[in-house]
Amino acid sequence: MSEPILKVKDFTVEFWVDGVWYPAAVNMNFQIAPGEVLAIVGESGSGKSTTGMGLMSLLASNARMYGSVQVKGHEMIGAKSSVLRKYRGKEVAYIFQEPMTALNPVYTIGFQIVETLRTHFDMGPHQAKDRAIELLTLVDIPNPAGSFNKYPHQLSGGQRQRAMIAQALACDPGLLVADEPTTALDVTVQAEILDLMRGLKDKLNSAILLITHDMGVVADMADEILVMKDGLTVEHGTADQIFNRPSHPYTKELLAAVPKLGTSAKRILKADPSKGIAPVLNLENVTIEYPKRGRIPAFTAVKEFNLQIFPGEIVGLVGESGSGKTTVGRAAIGLLPIKEGKIEIVGTDISHATQKDLFAIRRHTGIVFQDPASSLNPRLPIGESIGEPIFLAGLAKGESLNTMIEDLLDQVELPRSYRNRYPHELSGGQRQRVGIARALALTPDLLIADEPTSALDVSVQARFLDLLQDLQDKLKFACLFISHDLAVVDILTHRIAVMQDGRLVEVGERDQILKHAKDPYTQRLIAAVPVPNPAEQKIRREARLAAAKK
């Protein structure tokens, strides 16, 4: 085995908060050799990003670090900032989660790559530009010479991430720290980026420190895995060991919480939709258009969309970002006007409804939003948020409203004492429970769930899905479950609808879609989902690449 690039020994990071030193990462020990991928996995708050940033002393000034971090034999902890600057970017490069915020929006991507090159090498502007275009070619950006002069907002999410990788690779770093590199991307794009990173690693023989919460990505990439929880290293071993023979209970729990495609039991729908029961939600040839605004032309987000949801049924709506699935969800409860077609909720036509008509259907619908941070009014105690639909429907007031709020909190398994808390005092999972409680306050016939789990950790997500399932069994509402995560949809739904570019691609029974998809797009989508099992993922990857070549 060759000399490791990075050696970390007894590395501890602490933060000074409110007069107390809080440990964020404790006694970390690991090393990475060239050409190896070490993955640090853990849930949010486990200290994995802190570790990654701490390696190059990129932490806020209220942090202190102990131990030893050696890059190619040179100590980084306590090094002068001039020394650190020499190593940052050149020996250790970073790829961040959100390329839109990590790239400077007022400079072209070419400028940003050239900047990196010229800080570290004695290079003329023309030479640097040639090298930058070479790098953009390396990361498969279409039309590299043209893209050199593009601003970050002119590129798609995947292209931006490629540009970031190009910038990170500018100085042939020995170590690439990738902090959640694909979390903000769609599955198909994620698969491409992971392929790219794997190829580059082999080509340049650099090491990768992969920081992620996604077990599928880990299974796809990692040679070695380090599991973290609350700042402590829980388990450290090869990918095979961790996935197939986990020894620590937390690792087992984490793996069990990861939803796996095609493993959940068939959910049986009691009412048979074919026997002439009126659908709860009926979308017929719906076209939705965002009107022209200034110089931006009108944009048709959804075209001729057809979908029926029957009582007690959960229908999953999947698609990549920009496919119009959220637009459909919003139009389905009258938050967006439609251009053509017909929307019926519980027998009421709301295609061209007025405010008053919509008020009547509000009692039959509820919605859970994607982002638990922004979907609750930050200035309203959660008890009031939950009680609002009941209050506005005029069902209860004062004492009786209070008891109803208590019942709802019990239903979503939150302590009653939380009612006076503000949203920011709750964790993401708890906020999402509040969101459900509010959506179910009027015992609606139809619940729209717009990516309710995408902001949650896997274990929290698993608990949340259990809760949603229990509630659905109890209350028998129909549900449109919008998600980009096929594995989650697999657990929950009876039927699945797939969307692409505003059109319905395929709709059918869950198993039919997941196992025998007819449409090539659906097949591609399913193939791109990484499976949390290294051996199986390898087979799937090769199959996918072979299919792509064809």
Binding site: R330, F369, G383, P389, I405, R416, S417
Partner: protein, 361 residues
């Protein structure tokens, strides 16, 4: 037997205690109640409320109030426009009308504490300065409150409507705002003061308030444009909330920080505006006085008879500071992220807890 009963009583007590805590924790509180409780706990704000309230009481009762035909005479013997003999005794040589207010107890300087005949002294022709300052403060507070209230409410309503509804409503209201901004306030004040100066300061304040809302409305509009896209607004709409409820119950409390900051600035600015107009001779017309006109009138006396400068200045500072602190308290009360600062005792407790936690790890 007795022991058993005792135990039972203790158990009951414990249960009752627990229930009380339980009830306290789960007692549903509305947003307004929580904000009010937090405001009451804000020390600086509560002190300011007290100071401002007592100041207003003193100011209005001492010189009396006259609203139309209805009037109450104050407890202070002199009127602000009453000419008196200039007092010489007890003053330094060559200075007349010095303040008689004595804050030192008799143990220190031999004379007992007290207001004396003219606690704030007299001006150059013999008016009682206490009466003048009280009258001036009355005018200034009136101007400030009217401008703050009018400018604030118009600004909030215009800003929130145009930010919330956007479209042609927004375009119309914002062009109106632009139009109002182009007219300099000082010109409006001069014109109004010139034509209607005899109608009193309330009328002037009303006119100024009608034109003082522009900055606030733009800020509020910007905040609304940002907040209306948040998901909780959609959530409220799904819950069946009307536009009015969404504006006032959901979005406005989130914009309260910006509103309070700019209203406090508006109110402090109102005093200055009134001063400027009085200085130009258009605002509070002599013989009536305001704090601003007093300062501008006696700005040359600073070296010889500084009290003519101090008293109105002290009142302006006190009023402006209390308003700022009250605004601060309100903003903190509305903002759930603001935590009370930990006291030393709490800090010690949290440190102990951290130690215990560290030990148990």
């Amino acid at each position: 037997m007795i022991f058993k009963r005792k135990q039972k009583v203790v158990e009951n007590l414990a249960e009752a205690n627990e229930n009380a805590i339980f009830n306290k924790e789960t007692e549903g509180l509305s947003q307004g109640q929580i904000v009010f409780r937090r405001f009451i706990r804000h020390k600086a704000a509560m002190i300011s409320v007290f100071v401002l309230f007592s100041l207003i009481m003193i100011v209005f009762t001492s010189s009396g109030i006259k609203i139309g035909p209805f009037s109450i005479s104050g407890w202070w013997p002199y009127k602000f426009d009453q000419l008196l003999d200039l007092r010489k005794e007890g003053c330094p040589p060559e200075i007349v009308g010095c303040p008689t207010l004595d804050m030192m107890p008799s143990i220190i300087d031999g004379t007992s504490m007290g207001l004396g005949v003219h606690p704030f002294g007299q001006d150059d022709i013999g008016h009682d300065y206490f009466a003048m300052v009280m009258r001036g403060a009355q005018r200034s507070i009136l101007v400030m409150l009217v401008i703050g209230f009018l400018g604030g409410s118009i600004g909030i309503v215009v800003g929130s409507i145009s930010g919330y509804f956007r479209g042609w409503v927004d375009a119309l209201l914002m062009r109106l705002t632009d139009f109002v901004i182009t007219i300099p306030t000082i010109v409006i004040g001069s014109v109004v003061g010139y034509h209607f100066g005899n109608l009193g300061v309330g009328f002037l304040a009303f006119y100024l308030g009608i034109f003082a809302w522009t900055g606030l409305s733009r800020l509020v509009r910007g905040e609304f444009l940002k907040l209306r896209e948040m998901e909780f607004v959609d959530a409220a709409r799904v819950a069946g909330a009307s536009n009015r409820r969404i504006i006032f119950k959901h979005i406005l409390p989130n914009a309260v920080g910006i509103i309070i900051v700019s209203i406090t600035l508006l109110m402090s600015g109102a005093i200055l505006l009134e001063t400027a107009l009085s200085y130009l001779g258009f605002g509070v017309v002599a013989p009536d006085v305001s704090l601003g006109s007093l300062i501008s009138q006696f700005q040359d006396s600073f070296t010889i008879r500084p009290w003519l400068f101090w008293w109105p200045g002290l009142f302006i500072i006190t009023i402006a500071l209390s308003i700022n602190f009250i605004g601060d308290g309100l903003r903190d009360a509305f903002d759930p992220r603001q935590r009370r600062r930990l006291s030393k005792k709490d800090k010690a407790a949290s440190r102990d807890q951290a130690k215990i936690a560290a030990a148990s790890n």
